[in-house]
């Protein structure tokens, strides 16, 4: 199963390192990553393979959301199918 992890907020040093640190600890492999910074607004989208994730998906999503709160960012992990259903016919 693949998840889409999004990080949106004010740009700062080390955002990717923090997020990928959590993913590494939980056995999640990053498949693809794109990011853009537009006038201080940081937006990163990661595609991650969570089939070997060591915790339930809900727990991973909570952990990333907590990290986001600490960093003042909106961090979400969502099953890729919600985006596939909405944007692909």
């Amino acid at each position: 199963m693949r998840a889409v992890i999004t990080v949106v907020g004010k740009d700062a040093v080390g955002i990717i390192a923090e997020v990928s640190g959590v993913l590494k600890r939980r056995g999640v492999n990053i498949v693809d990553i794109t990011q853009s910074v537009m006038s201080d607004l940081f937006a990163m989208v990661m595609m991650a393979d969570i089939s070997a994730c060591t915790v339930p998906f809900g727990a991973l999503a909570d952990e990333l959301a907590d990290l986001g709160r600490r960093l003042g960012l909106d961090v979400r992990a969502m099953h890729e199918d919600i985006f596939n259903s909405m944007h692909r016919i």
Partner: protein, 452 residues
């Protein structure tokens, strides 16, 4: 790889535009709970709801986490109780509602629908017993919702049932007077009631339905309004396309959640309901969509035309997005649950008469409208008859959920809280239709019901 902008669009819809799954409703057949002993029937109902819906709330929460979209309500609908309990000998039919209420509390759902009777052509003894018990059932339970189908396009209108519903509304209003007559908010009178509607208070599990089915309702007035906001001044044809595309995306999420929840719960995939269901939250209003389309205020001339176009575009976009569309599927215009409708009603721009006209082009009917507490039963019945005849003649579902607010007059307010919102008490016409209602009997089915 998915397009970043598409991903961010979805997240924006959820975080800023109130996109959510309004309800995952599990329909459960109770037809095998019949018993000659009412107490035994109640026991069977409780056991079956608890068994079938045991994991409903947990699965809803699981999906919410995994897909990152709020699932607001998890609910249960059951077979019409008047049919389930038809075999029961003596006893109080309100006990059946108490059993449903206990079962709903045990599985953790906030509402259970199906305390219902289908009386469009006539009443069985059990239907009469159920109707008599409705005021007590609604006053003494917290989670039970009731619906009564008084007409169909094929059968015509059972005016005796319509008259009775006016009196039932009055009694329910009185019995729940301490809570703003809230009991009436849990009672819907229908024409052409759908068997697979996931939305309360009108949800019930039809007799033609599967043993257990999942029906899902999505919500997206805020998303549609935001999409229209991004297209100021465009022509109506283009605007219809904007609404269609948005409705498609919203419905796809409903389809995904319906498929996944039915798989995990071991139930049939029933339907996705395409309705635009507003909430009292600012920006999640159908009235505001109509105003964004170009009306100064919802209720002004032009409102019916805007609503007709909106309703049609939502259906066209949604139909392709789901394998099974059903339920009510249209724009809801409940007054108390829609901040824009409340504002328009309070300013006098939106009247009961205009709302009635609006229901001719959308689902579902006169919904969550508070009227003066001293409105006579005959006037309530006549409002029901008018609305029901729109459904019967136009071959569509219409419904009435009126709240005669006991002890209060037009211009006052009644507050229900939460998703139920608050309602200004709207004036109704005072001329008496009593002699018309006293004629009794049935209004015959319209000529175009003869389709065979």
């Amino acid at each position: 790889m998915l397009n970043t902008l598409d991903i961010l669009e979805t997240i924006k819809m959820i975080t800023e535009e109130h996109l959510d799954i309004r309800t995952i409703t599990m329909g459960i057949s109770l037809l095998d709970c019949a018993s000659e002993d009412l107490g035994r029937c109640c026991g069977k109902i409780y056991d079956k709801v608890c068994r079938r819906a045991e994991r409903l709330v947990a699965v809803g929460e699981e999906l919410e986490k995994e897909y990152g979209i709020p699932v607001i309500n998890k609910r249960v609908s059951v077979s019409p109780i008047s049919a389930v309990a038809a075999a029961c000998g003596g006893g109080d039919f309100a006990d059946l509602a108490r059993a449903m209420d206990r079962a709903a509390a045990a599985v953790g759902v906030n509402f259970i629908g199906g305390y219902s009777a289908l009386v469009h052509k006539g009443m069985t003894d059990a239907d009469r017993r159920l109707l008599d018990a409705i005021p007590e059932a609604l006053a003494e339970t917290e989670r039970v919702c009731s619906s009564v189908n008084v007409a169909t396009t094929r059968a015509g209108i059972n005016m005796d049932a319509v008259s009775r519903m006016g009196r039932i509304l009055k009694e329910t209003s009185y019995r729940t007077r301490e809570s703003g007559s809230f009991g009436c908010a849990k009672l819907v009178v229908f024409a052409n009631i759908p068997e697979d509607n996931p939305f309360m208070a009108g949800a019930y599990h039809g007799v033609g339905e599967a043993e257990c089915a999942i029906n899902v309702g999505v919500s997206g007035p805020g998303v549609v309004r935001a999409a229209i906001l991004r297209h100021p001044g465009c022509g109506l044809t283009e605007l219809a396309d904007v609404i269609k595309k948005t409705a498609f995306k919203i419905t796809r999420v409903g389809q995904l959640i319906a498929a996944e929840s039915s798989r995990r719960l071991g139930a049939e995939f029933g339907i996705v309901d395409l309705s635009l269901a507003p909430t009292p939250a600012v920006g999640d209003s159908v009235a505001e969509i109509l105003e964004e389309m170009g009306l100064e205020v919802c209720g002004c001339h032009g409102t019916t035309a805007c609503l007709a176009m909106l309703n049609d575009a939502v259906k066209k976009g949604g139909v392709m997005a789901s394998s099974h569309v059903g339920g009510l599927s249209g724009a809801f215009i409940p007054v108390s649950e829609d901040a824009g409708m409340v504002r328009a009603a309070e300013s006098g721009a939106l009247t009961v008469d205009k709302l009635e006209a609006m229901t001719a082009v959308c689902s579902v009917g006169l919904d969550m409208i508070a009227v003066p507490g001293d409105t006579p039963a005959e006037v309530l019945s006549a409002i029901i008859a008018d609305e029901i005849s729109i459904g019967v003649v136009n071959n569509k579902t219409t419904a009435v959920r009126l709240i005669p607010a006991w002890g209060r007059a037009a211009g006052e307010r009644v507050v229900f809280g939460g998703l139920w919102g608050e309602a200004p008490i709207m004036p109704v016409h005072t001329g008496s239709p009593a002699a018309f209602l006293a004629r009794g009997g049935r209004i015959p089915a319209p000529i175009h019901s003869q389709r065979n």
